[in-house]
């Protein structure tokens, strides 16, 4: 589905990613974990077309995305839920959802979009309750749900999420992750970037550890949970033994 090879990317002259190769298969939830500043967001923004890579390739559904604008990537089915719940705060929940489908036009789309909005309400019932409310008045967790639902309105094949758990009550995070797992069952692929490694590995099939722009560990969920470096650095294991 998504194949990234030798990706180098960053900001102006600052090279953040130093040759990263990762992939996401059909129907897979793949997580990229790592400390602050490792380049996790840079990775997602480059795949989404917001940042232009210095070198390397991004292939989506066997198509090289190099010439694709950010909009065209969304159209191709590759959608990013950015960090920090960027919802349109002065628009209502429903208007936010409609905007998520802005690339979908043409005959019969209107009713299809309406159907999809209903579906978002069933996935995230709280959004239905708040449908007429300004998005800015929602709680952090509700805004995150709205951001995800808005992204889903474009009917993506691959959903990329940047730190969806940040600043949200753990119980809400669990709810969101449960919904993500459910969507995977229906065929969605997910690339999940998280600092909360424990949470991310609870739903991921595979994962990568990104440190200072390089992948230093990769493996199945079980392998990452069993890896002592991952355990010590990201899962808070072994602290008692270190203290001794």
């Amino acid at each position: 589905m998504l194949t990234i090879r030798n990706l180098q990317s960053g900001y102006h002259k600052l090279r953040v990613l130093k040759g990263v190769s990762v992939h996401v298969g059909e129907n897979e939830i793949v997580t990229v974990i790592g400390p602050n500043g490792a380049g996790k967001s840079t990775l997602l923004m480059t795949v989404a077309g917001i940042l232009k890579p210095f070198a390397g390739t991004v292939t989506f559904d066997n198509t090289d995305l190099e010439s694709f604008s950010a909009e065209k990537r969304v159209e191709a089915g590759c959608v990013l839920v950015p960090e920090g719940r960027r919802v349109f705060s002065t628009l209502t929940v429903k208007e936010n959802l409609e905007l998520g489908a802005f690339l979908r036009s043409g005959k019969n789309e209107k009713s299809a979009i309406q159907q999809d909005i209903e579906r978002m309400y069933s996935l995230f019932p709280v959004l239905q309750k708040r449908m007429k409310q300004m998005a800015g008045t929602l709680s952090g967790g509700e805004q995150q749900m709205l951001a995800i639902a808005r992204a889903l309105m474009s009917r993506p094949k691959l959903l990329m999420m940047d730190e969806p758990s940040m600043g949200i009550a753990p119980i809400i995070v669990s709810q969101i992750f449960k919904t993500i797992s459910m969507l995977r069952e229906e065929g969605l692929s997910v690339l999940l970037v998280e600092q909360n490694a424990k949470k991310a590995l609870s739903i991921a099939d595979r994962g990568y550890v990104l440190e200072t722009g390089q992948i230093v560990v990769s493996g199945s969920r079980e392998e990452l949970l069993e890896n002592h470096d991952v355990g010590r650095a990201y899962l808070g294991k072994d602290y008692s033994t270190i203290d001794e």
């Binding site: 190769s21 990568y208 992948i215 230093v216 990769s218 069993e226 890896n227 002592h228």
Partner: protein, 434 residues
């Protein structure tokens, strides 16, 4: 049967991505965690970021047996010892052995790799698997044991107990699969003749042999004498142990577990790629190992790649059966011994550089080593008693340090050729050539 269909039949294009991801991850880790590799890459002027595909692999320097010996015991480990859950080493070597370590994930992957190999030979949960490899520092016994248990077979850890006892177990416990060195299999066959046990009295169907090179005619001999289908397997302690590669039901080359290892074949003299399907030295890079990762390790084993896809459905590339060595390593009774190790013992005992020859033969399926040493020029006939004492010391030291039984004979001074331009032929192998 294909044990892990998803991995073993992965389309080559996907496999290529998996390999490059894992290779880059391994390179990033060894550069950070193993001083040897940081030094090696830096001194060769290699930037690991320049390794962008499998084709870039030849830009990396080799790792040799000498590098591993110099790292004794733990300097090549890429994780702290507390993360290591198993330690093995090469057995029976004088001086320092090679020490390798496995993390929990490494053991899991190793187990899966040997399980794949066993399944490819037709082993299922219905089999009674008798493992007649050493269960000790050597990787053979434990390596196969784990895989056979994962498949759910009934595993008999017979180890290298006497052939007579092996046969009794095979007969009484209704063993369906025998795993051991090919030499030991022939020894068992020999012993069966002596015990007047016909192979039809056994339930044996499958044999998986390895740890030393063996010829096709030896395979036919084993199959006729033990009434089983004999499969070849390939592995070495440094890379993982058994499970690096194995024959499938087609028995037309050994599939390399390419999602864990990248294989290259190079010219032993130049170190350059031998070209498609050319013969040369096998070089392996581990791409999933956490505890003891190795980059471009020169095995000394001679074989070639078979690039043509196999009809079994597995997409992993195959290597031919190993046909020889780049060095003078001796495979003896399941052990690996270099002549230099014998030489060191001779030197210690005799006190001067010895002139010697090692003659290998096989009697009743059992390997025989005869070490022929020139008596020093200063020895007089009346010192015969002293010579005999020295011979006994040599036999004892070889037994202790190399864990093998050898005969030692003294011969007249100047019996053997002296070093000229060519390398002296120290080893005469009269066993069936491979």
């Amino acid at each position: 049967m294909i044990f892990d269909k998803k991995a073993e039949t992965m389309p080559r294009k996907e496999l290529e991505q998996v390999q490059i991801e894992r290779l880059q991850t391994t390179l990033n880790r060894v550069y950070r965690n193993v001083a040897f590799y940081k030094k090696s890459f830096d001194s060769h002027g290699v930037n690991i970021e320049s390794i962008k595909s499998r084709e870039d692999l030849p830009n990396l320097p080799f790792t040799t047996r000498a590098d591993l010996l110099a790292a004794y015991p733990y300097d090549m480990f890429a994780v702290p010892l507390r993360d290591i859950v198993r330690i093995h080493s090469t057995s029976g070597t004088a001086g320092k052995p090679l020490v390798v370590g496995y993390t929990k994930n490494d053991l899991k992957n190793w187990t899966a790799c040997t399980a794949r190999l066993l399944a490819a030979s037709g082993i299922t949960e219905h089999d009674v698997v008798q493992i007649a490899f050493h269960y000790d520092l050597f990787t053979g016994g434990f390596g196969f044991h784990q895989g056979a248990e994962l498949i759910g077979a009934s595993v008999i850890p017979a180890s290298t107990t006497l052939a007579e006892k092996q046969i009794t177990i095979m007969k009484d416990y209704k063993t369906t699969a025998l795993l051991c060195t090919p030499g030991f299999a022939l020894h068992i066959a020999q012993e069966m003749d002596a015990m007047k046990i016909h192979p039809e009295q056994l339930s044996l169907k499958t044999g998986i042999f390895g740890a030393e090179p063996w010829s096709n005619s030896m395979r036919r001999q084993i199959e006729t004498r033990l009434h089983c289908t004999a499969h070849d397997s390939y592995g070495l302690t440094e890379i993982m142990g058994p499970g690096v590669a194995g024959e499938c039901e087609e028995r037309a080359g050994l599939h390399v577990n390419e999602d864990h290892f990248i294989v290259e074949v190079v010219d032993p003299a130049t170190g350059k790629w031998v070209g498609e399907d050319g013969q040369g030295e096998l070089v392996f890079t581990t791409i999933t190992k956490e505890g003891f990762p190795l980059i471009r390790y020169r095995t000394g084993d001679i074989a070639s790649l078979i690039s043509e896809p196999c009809s079994c459905g597995r997409t992993f590339t195959r290597i031919t059966r190993v046909t020889g060595r780049t060095d003078d390593l001796i495979f003896f009774d399941g052990q690996k011994i270099f002549p230099s190790e014998i030489e060191q013992i001779l030197l210690d005992v005799e006190g001067t550089a010895p002139h010697y020859q090692i003659v290998l033969s096989r009697e009743n399926g059992k390997d025989i080593m005869d070490v022929r040493v020139e008596a020093g020029e200063s020895f007089e006939i009346d010192k015969l008693g002293k010579l005999e004492a020295m011979r006994d010391t040599l036999v004892e030291r070889i037994q202790q340090e190399l864990e093998i039984s050898a005969q030692v004979h003294f011969v007249e001074p100047r019996t053997f050729e002296r070093a000229t331009k060519d390398k002296i032929r120290r080893v005469i192998d009269k066993r069936e050539s491979v």
